[in-house]
Structures are given as structure tokens and as C-alpha cells.
Point group: C2
Chain length 485, copies 2
Amino acid sequence: MAREGFVTAITRQSDDFPAWYNDVVLKAELASYSPVRGCMVIRPYGYAIWESMRDELDRHIKATGHSNVYFPLFVPRSLLEKEAEHVEGFNPQVAWVTHAGGKELDEWLAIRPTSEAIIAETIKDWIQSYRDLPLLMNLWNNVVRWELRTRLFLRTSEFLWQEAHTFHATEQEAREEVDLGLEIYRKVSEEWLAIPVITGRKSEGEKFPGAVYTYSIEAMMRDRKALQAGTSHYLGTNFAQAAGITFLDRDNQRRHPHGTSWGFSTRMVGATIMAHGDDSGLVLPPKVAPVQVVVVPIFRSEADRSAVADAIERFELALRSTPEGREVRLEVDWREESPGFKYNHWELRGVPFRIEVGPRDVAAGQGTLVRRVDRSKEAVPLDRLAAELPLRLTGYQQELFQRALDFREANSHQVDDYESFKRVNEEQGGFLWAHWCGSAECEAQVNQETGATIRNIPFDSAAEAGRCIVDGRPSDRRVVFARAY
Amino acid sequence: MAREGFVTAITRQSDDFPAWYNDVVLKAELASYSPVRGCMVIRPYGYAIWESMRDELDRHIKATGHSNVYFPLFVPRSLLEKEAEHVEGFNPQVAWVTHAGGKELDEWLAIRPTSEAIIAETIKDWIQSYRDLPLLMNLWNNVVRWELRTRLFLRTSEFLWQEAHTFHATEQEAREEVDLGLEIYRKVSEEWLAIPVITGRKSEGEKFPGAVYTYSIEAMMRDRKALQAGTSHYLGTNFAQAAGITFLDRDNQRRHPHGTSWGFSTRMVGATIMAHGDDSGLVLPPKVAPVQVVVVPIFRSEADRSAVADAIERFELALRSTPEGREVRLEVDWREESPGFKYNHWELRGVPFRIEVGPRDVAAGQGTLVRRVDRSKEAVPLDRLAAELPLRLTGYQQELFQRALDFREANSHQVDDYESFKRVNEEQGGFLWAHWCGSAECEAQVNQETGATIRNIPFDSAAEAGRCIVDGRPSDRRVVFARAY
């Protein structure tokens, strides 16, 4: 009987990137479509990847003094509408509950598109004095933003995320918190997901509805498009004013607290797929890989099977004899399938290392180590491999980061005039570092004419005198343009 | 300025149990009301308790081969209505999304009250052959059941929970899974939350809408009322048939898989409060306590402060020198408040052990250990305390379990006729072990006339010939009646 897993032929990445992406998500069983328009089902392998990044993010969030809390799924219409820019930004995407418990509701309830409004209203009573500040909260939940065109993980009407919400006595402290949120995202992206990111500030047109400013991390996918991987917002006193939150400051004055919020979602599973994957499927960084090492036994006779099993058992025992070795997520694939089927299965799923152990290997006391990213093969004595495996995984993690960084650098271009911009954007894509005068008009024109948007104004963009590629007005640093997800 | 935390006067438990409960939840800052009717906000301390039981449950669920997954928040009306009993049971409590993305929806979407219907529809394609079974899934999510009368944690329109959903090739295997789910709940309740439970089968009238049968664990609260603490359902092929799921079995026959589902929710935070708490507030089992030990330094002069600080530092170093000691969640309360304020603060929050360290203690090389549950005081050399603390916490956990068990036994009664039943139920409450003929009529009559319901038909109820307390028909074992949450 044909096994589904064997049909792993996926579209080539270079032929059709979006089709490749969908194939990988569906055939590696990360997620699937659901009977609800725009909503996805996250399957075990995809959810395990999400859990890994979620837990790592949670560790950072807690280590920096934030507490997890939960706020209601619903936001009464009147609350959502209190902050003017906020409602304007989100209203078109809201899903509304109008009936419940067998009758029509007096007031419609929004399914939260984000929780600023409900939080500001709720915590009014919690903040009386400067001694109640800062208030550092984090929520893990689901939010709904009705999307017309959806893509698994990248843009779904419902998604899972973390949203931090904090309130501070001073603007300075709130600004530092915005920096902290962004730095946590940078760390998780670069050190856990092996995805290099550009940190910077969003343009006015691209900031969060209701924010004073928005910072983002931006990553390059393997089709050279950009993906916004996390955002951190300084909200000023906007939501506090709208909800009427004040506190008694040290000098006995009543003031509005300064707010921040920052979020990171299941979209990052999509980013991890697109930042590292290749024609054979996923390429997972070890930190986030549900299975880091798969051992494939190769045998024909029962005698061979037994010798191979013994060698693998000794290898596992040796691996588990050290604390680092015990942490390695290893699976031995004893399924009754051909080795080829298994190679295919685990390559599609992006498992970093495969170790093949056959009778000849056993005789030589070795195994064949195959690395997913470059398919390099190496015969290594099994006892040495057991000892070296943790360090090799660490090295592989760093290599994937460097590979993604090299790819980004190779696909980043400085362009100085609009014609070059259009040509490079069309022919090569990637990140275009160009001068921009700061006007919303030029930004909109570029977007309309080229499909590229300003990803952010990078913090490490060096001061440099130049002229806006559109209207020639002066600019003092380059910004990053790209087509984006 | 008055600090909110100092006003910890709470209603006495014996005076008004429901008022005591609300006081504890609000003043220990476990949760608060929200601007949305029937929905609560879970605050840091309450969420940390939830995280502890959630993580423990998650470990059991994964260790028994289940994978975490995610399914959509929405269930299209037509799917919810496919299983007849199911829709009848849940329809009155459903919240409906009718508008989204700026327009009216063609089909109303239910906010999931539970996920059987959406899951059955989705996984049709995943189950082709017996080799795709069993399918063992678990979801951590939020569900909505519109409630008229709500109580923080115990009954809220939105709550957080875990719902496991499994599919099996045979009835036998599915029944074993139902047992497994219940056993996991028993373990977490008894060994983590220190709440003894009675395992048994629900009556027909009390089973899950759409199930063939439902098992439950039932716990006694300190007002002697019962609380259903977790349920595990055998669904037969009901949902599989409704959704049209079939698989090719070993014998080449197409069959419907057998389903189970089991759930455990934030209501268990409420159970933990009510199973152990006393007039001073929470009494937390160490396993679930966000803070297990609080050290309160006592000093007047700077010199004393410094000596006390040194002693506490040495104590902490000694504690952290062992692996078990490093796991202890300890806080030293250096806030600028009186010792009395701090005692009050931490007692309300149920912290198992308080260690007071003052100048005289330092001189004697000791600290004063105060146990929350019985307020016993003991002077213990600090170095010995550091060495013994982990074991003492383990002992305290067991004591709380035994205390709850003793309380339940002291408030369990065998009654043999309806008059005694009514009198004991009225005057003493508690668990009433009585004979019941098995008819829905007698069950309904007892409920209507006494407020008590059949909690479950305990698995360990001994075979015993008797007569139904209502109609005198024969019965072969006692069931447990009680007023319940």
C-alpha cells in the first residue's frame, strides 16, 4: 500500500517559491488547511517547532521580569473604539460576536485583534501610584484578524502569538522597554532560529495603529523577499489617556503612564521554513528541530539487523553518558521502510544530522554522518561521534546562521537612483539600501511602482549624505527597501 | 499612603464560603473581573499557579505519546450541528461570530465550546489506514461557553484548558485511552495539587453531550461541596460517523475509528484554592506554589540589618549547594514594610514556609520556621534548615494531601434511606454514599428535592446489595451524591 510519506516530491524552490513553501508545510505535516476559511490546523511537527521558539521566548521574557497573565478573548466594541488610530487600523479586520447564550448581545464583542484596548481598560484600578509601576505583563494567546488572502503560518485569520504589554512612570523607561523587547526578538531570531535580522524603526506609514513609533526586526527569506519577524511599539500615553489611566507620581502629580507593546507570532514558523529551506524541504536549526539526529539502521539479514542494533545501542549509551549528550533529541528509525524512504522522510523534515549504520559500518566501528544542509557525508567512529555530537550540533547551528547571513549580504544592494532601484528590484530582488527623504508620498510611490516597501530605518545605517531616490531631496542615511511578506 | 496589600482582611471561610473564595481570589491577586461579562483576567500569581499544573499535565500527556496540536477557534455552524446530542448540549451556550472583515458571514461561526466537531471534520483526510491509528492529539487553548452565573476560575464564559482528542482502531483501545486520561488527571490532582479524588463513571444524565460514557474525578472542597475536576469521555464512533471518517482495517474492511476526549481546565485553580484554603487565605501545596519559601528579615538597626543579611546569604548559598536545594522557589522579602505586613501578605498567598530571621536568631545561628497550614513555629539552625528544606517541602505536600483526605473521609456518610439522606445533606453536607436504582427519574428527583447530584459511580464502590433510596428498587453498589460546583 502506498504510504503518504513516500510521495515527497515537492516543487523546486527555484521554480516556484510559493508552491515550494506550501508543499513543504503540507507534506512535512507542519500544518494543514481547515474547514474554516483562513484558519489553519497546526500539526504535531509544526507545533513542536512553535513550542521550541515559544519556550525560548518565554524564558527571555520571564528572565527580564515580565509576568505571564491572561486577558479576555473579547473586546467590547466601545473599548476598541476608544483609541482613534487603533480602531481605524483594526476595524476592517475584526470578527464580531453578535449573539451568545441564545440571544442577541446589547453590545457587539470583537474577537481581539490585539489586546491594548481591553488591557488599558482593565488595569485602570491596578495603577494608583508610581510604586505600582512598571507593570510588566506578557500574554500567550490567539488573536483574529480577518485576512482576504491567507497563507499557512504567514498570514492566517487566526494566529498564535505572544503580546507583551507594559506601563511605565516615565517616557525614558518605556523607550528602554521598547528596546528590550526588540533585543529579545533579535536574540531569539538570531541565536535560536539562526535567522539574521535588521533592527530598525518603521516608517510612519508602517507603524502600529495607535503607536508613537514601531521598531521591527526584518529578515531575508530564500526568495530574497523580506519578512517582518517581530515588532516593538512605544505607545506613548495614547491608550492610557483613552482609558483614563493615571497614577500619583513621586512629586504628587497625577500622570498618565507610558505604554509599550511587542509581539511575536506563529508566522515565525513560516520564517524559519523560508529562511533555511531548500529543494528537498526543511532545513532546521538544531535548537528548534524537534528531532536533531536520526539514526537509520541498514540491514538485510537478521544477523545484520542484530549487529546493527547492538552498535546503535552502544552509541546511544555513550551519547547519553554526558549531560550534553542526554539533551540531544535523537530518534532511531526502525520502521519497516526502505532506507531511501527514510532519508527522504527526514530530509523533508529538515533533521540536521542523519547517521547511517549498516553491517560494514559496524565492522569498521563507525557510522556515516550526513549533514542535511550540504549533504556532506563523513565516516566517523561511533564512539567519537557520540562524544562530538553536541558540539557538532552547535557548530551546525552557527553555520546555518552564517549561511543565512552570507545569503542576505550577497543579496543586499546599495542603489543611488530610482532607475537602478527599479532594475535591481526587478531583476535581482533582495534588500535595497537607498536614500529616502522621509516623505509618505515618496514611500507610497515606490511601493506602488515597484512593489517594494521600506522595511525599516536600520539602527546601524551609517550617517551618509545622499538624495532621495524619488524626489532628490536630501537624506542623511539609507533605509532598507524590499518586497515583503 | 495606604498599600492595597495591607488590607487583607478577608471574609471568614466559615461565615460565608463564597464570599471568602472571592476575597481570596481578588485580594491574593489571582484574578480579577474584566470589562467583558463573565470573562476574567488571570493575574500573575494566578497564572503562575495555572502554569505549574499545566506544565505538569503537559509532561504526563507527552510522556504517554500524545502530541500537541492546534485547531481553529471557530466551528462553522453546520459542523457543530452534525452530531445531534452534541449540538443540543452546547448550542444554548455558544457565542456566534456573524460578521467579519467588514461584512456579514454566509455561515455563522461558533466560538469553540469544545473541539470534537471541528477536529472530526479536519482529520478525515489524515486517517486512511489502521496504520494511521492511533491518532493521539492534545490541544491547549481557550474555549467559550456563555454562562449566566459566573464565578472566577470556577465558571467563566471563557476559560483555558487542555483537551485531548484521540482516535483508535478498536473499541478496546479507545476504552483504555479513556482510562489513561482519567489516570493522568488523578495523578496530577493527587500528586501535584494534593487533592484526593474519587474516580468513577458519570450517570447517563451527566455525561458529555455526544459521548457513550463519561468518567470523572470528583474532589471535596472545604465547604464539603463537590467539584468535578476532570472528565474523560468515550465517544464511540459518534463523531467519526457524523463526519464520515473511515479507515481501512487489517482485514481490508472499512471501519469508523473510535474516539475519546478528555479535558482539564483553569477551574482547577479554583479547586486548589477551595480544597486547601483557610481563614487566612490560600494554602498552597509546594508543587504548585509560585513561591515555596519566603524569608522575612527582621531588624531595627543598620548593624542588625547587615548581620541578618549575612546570615540569609549564607543560608541561601547552603541551600543552593545541592541540586534539590537549587529547585526551591525561595524569595527574600526586603520590601520596606513591617514584618506583620509581610506575614499577612504571604499567608494570604498561601506560601508553604516562612522563615523569620532576626538578630537574636542570627546570634543563635538559627531561623524561625513557620508552616502556613498549621502556623507551627520551630527554631531550626539555618544550616540544618538549608539541608532539610527540600525534604520538608515534600513532607508538607504529603501532609496537605492527607489533610484533605482526612477531611473528605470525615465528611463522607453512608446513608440508607431518603429521610436520612435529606437530613445529612441538609445538616452536614459532604459526600453521601447511597444506593440508587439507576433510573434518571430518581436521580432527577433527588436533585430537585435536595440540590445534590450523583457525582459519579465510583470504580471502587464495593459490590453491596441495597435498595434505591428513592424508589426502593434493588441496587448492587453505592454511588456518591453531593451538592456540587
